[in-house]
Symmetry: C2
Subunit: 360 residues, 2 copies
């Protein structure tokens, strides 16, 4: 298999995902129409992604292994599809926990199942129960499917053991990050900046960036220094991505980011923005509004101004810049950087640019 | 490793579970006290089980492979521990979906996290959010851990492929059954007896009985006829077990079964009992009370009388008997029955007797 353009690569990943989902939904069909419909809907949502994670895995692997056999290349595409399935499984359970019904400007899987329309994000409690239960169960299936996909990878026994160890670590770290995130929002864990930054890295960096980058290094049987660089780059990219996401949710243009505007402020999400604001005198004005479900748009806009005024906005923006600078430093001068081929540098820099470009 | 008595076997399984949980909770400790506490609590709940599923796997395997090597025996114990982890992961997500806080006479993991006491099964909404989110996440970890345990089994490549195929099928079937169960309760799927019996078998039989029995046959490299018998026996045992469980929830003594009394009637759970009652003239008296969250004990007691009077109770009791008779028929005269050793028959009959003994 020879792949050249970016579009071809996305099409190849989508084909692999479609094959997996079709094979599973065919097996699901014998359990009734409602279960089959859930699979069809899930496949539709899975295939709507930007495929940043699987593309990164394939591109970096290809850079590290310039002449893979057709069988090797196929195995890598299959693994990359599993990374996307894992991502979607985490998103589903995340949306259940956060009560979110909207993602990328349209109802997410839960919103679709609960029958909400695009701009009216409420539903009856009984519809929500069915929708959330379905999302928990579909998340279980996709999580299982992703792990089974790693378990069945057509690679050497040694490579498979290393991939499974990596996957286990990544699942633990992601769940730990999400658990801390919920504990902070629910007031069970005391918010401080250090704890919040660690959580921010755990819940996103591990599976979104460290997993594809390290998996690429393992599959290419790269030198240990290269794998170490990938861990470091993955952590910085992931932290930048999640901080940018938090920044966008509060300060971005809803017409662009496509999420429920001000949802983070209404749900009391403890982000680095809020942790910084808590340490300023403006918090006495921000605090009483923070985490109130009934927050009105004009109140939210006022909070946004206060968060800019107290320096929280520029603080988080500079954190993102710091992380992206660290990515470039690791690529250019880090321990294993001399062994990172130019094509891998380009693939990683492209992801860094995507994060930079999500400014508004 | 030589194991003789029943108590030794349970202790061996508990040791394997404890090792796995300790190893995981040690890895979890670096992510903060709250996450470490969740693991400790989960380990406590996992280790409180009766170990029916892992015991069945080990006993049947041992009967089919009278002289396993120490390494084989260890691999089988490890796999059996994974079956118990899978069971607990499903229970956790099931309890989240059903809103249950009590299991085996005490708060379940969610109830413990929400801080309920033994007999006062309510909690504040914010505490419940934290508790349920934690249960979703811990379920994800245990599900992952169980599948990774299968993936790492120290068995031949061919055996591992067969085990992973079995596991994938079992996870799909269990989730399909649970999804149908929720759809029936939420009024999304129209209740009819055939659909309800299929759901009842899917959600329990696959992972609780077919999985351990078939895994034992695969690990012993038994003849295809034996594996077919195990599938059949697993289905009948599972259906008997779940029907008995439904029967117990409505007609059993709460002091014995240890669940929230009448929870099934209050939540509108569509069981075979209800499907039968719907077809009788008594339904006009039962229907208006069914599925009402505020159902009072005297109303529930009246419903119980009506369900006995209309024949639903004896119908389901006879269904349980039919399934157990089918288990014995498959053991004594089925296609592969001549190749099922006496010790395996005894182990399976012991489980059938446990189900029979759960009458009240």
């Amino acid at each position: 298999m020879t792949i050249t353009s970016q579009d071809d690569l996305s099409a190849t990943i989508e084909d692999a995902l479609r094959r997996r989902l079709t094979e599973r939904s065919t097996a699901a069909a014998e359990y009734g129409d409602e279960f089959a419909a859930l699979w069809t809907l899930a496949a539709d949502h899975v295939l709507g992604g930007k495929l940043i994670r699987p593309r990164l895995l394939i591109e970096v692997h290809r850079a590290l292994t310039p002449g893979p056999s057709a069988q090797e290349a196929d195995a890598v595409v299959e693994l990359a599809a599993n990374v996307e399935l894992l991502h979607f499984a985490f998103l589903l359970h995340d949306d259940v926990i956060d009560g979110d019904l909207i993602r990328r400007h349209r109802p997410n899987l839960i919103g679709s199942l609960a029958g909400i329309s695009d701009d009216h994000a409420t539903a009856a409690e009984s519809d929500l129960h069915w929708a959330r239960a379905s999302a928990i169960l579909m998340g279980d299936l996709l999580l299982s499917s992703a792990i089974l996909g790693f378990a069945r990878a057509e690679v050497s026994a040694n490579t498979r053991v290393r991939l499974l160890d990596l996957l286990e670590h990544v699942v633990l770290e992601t769940v730990a990050g999400e658990h801390t995130d919920v504990g902070l929002s629910d007031g069970v864990i005391r918010p401080d900046l250090q704890r919040i930054l660690a959580m921010t890295a755990y819940k996103t960096a591990a599976y979104s960036f460290a997993l594809p980058l390290r998996a690429a290094a393992i599959l290419a049987d790269a030198a240990p220094a290269v794998e170490s660089s990938m861990i470091e780059i993955g952590r910085h990219l992931g932290l930048a991505y999640q901080l940018q996401d938090d920044h966008l949710s509060v300060f971005g243009d809803q017409a662009v980011h496509g999420k429920d505007a001000y949802a983070d402020l209404r749900s009391g999400k403890e982000t680095a923005i809020i942790a910084y604001a808590r340490m300023t005198s403006e918090w006495s004005s921000i605090g009483p509004r923070f985490g109130r479900a009934e927050l009105r748009p004009d109140d939210a806009a006022r909070m946004r101004q206060l968060l800019i005024g107290c320096g929280a906005e520029s603080f988080v923006r500079s954190l993102v810049d710091d992380q992206l600078t660290a990515v470039h430093a690791a690529l250019e001068g880090g321990e294993g950087s001399r062994e990172i081929p130019e094509a891998a540098r380009l693939a990683i820099s492209a992801v860094a640019r995507i994060i930079e470009g999500r400014r508004r």
